[in-house]
Amino acid sequence: MNKSCHMLIDYFNRTLTEDEMRQFEDHLIECPSCQEELMEWEMLTENLPYESEAVEVPTDLKARIFASLPDLPAEAEFVTMPTKEKSRRRMGPVTTVLAAGLFASLVANAFLFSETQKEPEIAQSEIQLIGQSILAPQEGTSASAVAMLIADGDQNVLLLDATDLPTLSKDELYQVWVIEGDQPYPAGIVQPNETGTGTVSHPLTNLSGTWDTVAITIEKEPNLSAPEGQIILAGGI
């Protein structure tokens, strides 16, 4: 035990100065004994908040908090095609560019797939954006991804574009999931290039359409029945 170990209680109670906090946090990284002890304090105190008596919450607190949510970046028109019933999420400019690229790519594919190029309007008009989301990176990664749900005729397709994915070990892969209620479904593998960028287009044929979350995990095997590895990115759609 060194001098810094004695600061643990005051660190726990935030009574240290900013410099002392930083000093203790540096120490904590290198001191398994303090790490263990901090976990013990957290375990010993985790029931205590529930000792609080129920207090009437001001009736307008929720409204005030929701009114003060910062606006997301200004909505940019993404596509002018009609959308299905699911609501659109507002997108920031960066997302808009990425999403527009994905969408343009899909439209281009639909165009190329049509046997005749005489009726490109028909192929385009069947493609509709249903929803999109920015997946949030989990702690310790700078990865980002945009997921979009597209209706292509009668088929729903998940499009996902990920960047800055960390380098994997030889036996690992990036698995995409869509989650319906509590049930996850594998929805393609992202194979990033050397810069950590990868795209997936996956038809969602076996789902009822009520799924609401997209996630990417690191797995050892493709298409497991449920995620087993670390979550890298996740978000609602």
Binding site: H6, L8, I9, D10, N13, R14, T15, W41, E42, M43, L44, T45, E46, N47, L48, P49, Y50, E51, S52, E53, A54, V55, E56, V57, P58, L61, K62, R64, I65, F66, S68, L69, P70, L72, R89, S133, I134, L135, A136, Q138, E139, I179, E180, G181, D182, T210, D212, T213, A215, I231, A234, G235, G236
Partner: protein, 187 residues
């Protein structure tokens, strides 16, 4: 369809899904506010703490990771830290509690979270009542008032070197009684 769990709602919240955020808010508003009030003894500060905790959740300022344990435990730790910061900032961090008990209102609970909370509270209160007065006091000074070691030593007239041992003993004793009561699950 089953209700989405906290972790699912959290990830959707940081992806700025308002509906998920609202579900999470509704689940924990009362617990967070009541705990902040328990810590600060002041409704205005409890409101500020609640607002800050949820806004930071929305903004992703405080990041939760599953290895940090249960989402609810993490959220309450964030609430406690903010409450202590507010107390300190307002320089109202005196030992004498500011009694404002008139504003306490028991309410009928309906949600899963508040039902679990009521159950836990009963067990914890019984357990606390079984502690010796000095153990109750040291837990209050340490956990709910967030006093420094030296301030606890001064208040309890203890040598500085023994404060940590006394707090740990009191908390372990409390946990032992709670576990014996068997009514509090951390699952």
């Amino acid at each position: 369809m089953t209700e989405p769990d906290d972790i699912q709602l959290y990830y959707q919240t940081v992806a700025h899904n308002r509906h998920s955020f609202e579900q999470l808010y509704d689940r924990y508003e009362k617990l967070v506010f009541s705990f902040a009030y328990r810590m600060t003894n002041n409704r205005t500060m409890a409101e500020e703490v609640t607002q800050d905790v949820f806004l930071k959740l929305w903004n992703g300022t405080n990041q939760y990771a599953e290895e940090k344990g249960k989402f609810s435990s993490w959220l309450l730790t964030v609430t406690r830290n903010k409450s202590i910061d507010e107390l300190r900032k307002s320089k109202r961090h005196a030992y004498e509690p500011i009694l404002d008990k008139d504003s306490l209102t028991e309410e009928t609970v309906s949600t899963e979270v508040t039902a679990e909370w009521n159950e836990r509270r009963e067990v914890i209160r019984i357990a606390i009542a079984e502690l010796r007065a000095e153990q109750r006091e040291i837990i209050d000074l340490f956990y709910f008032k967030g006093f420094s070691q030296s301030k606890i030593a001064e208040h309890c007239k203890l040598p500085l070197g023994t404060v940590k041992g006394r707090i740990r003993l009191a908390l372990k004793h409390l946990k032992g009684i709670i576990d014996q009561e068997g009514g509090v699950s951390n699952e």
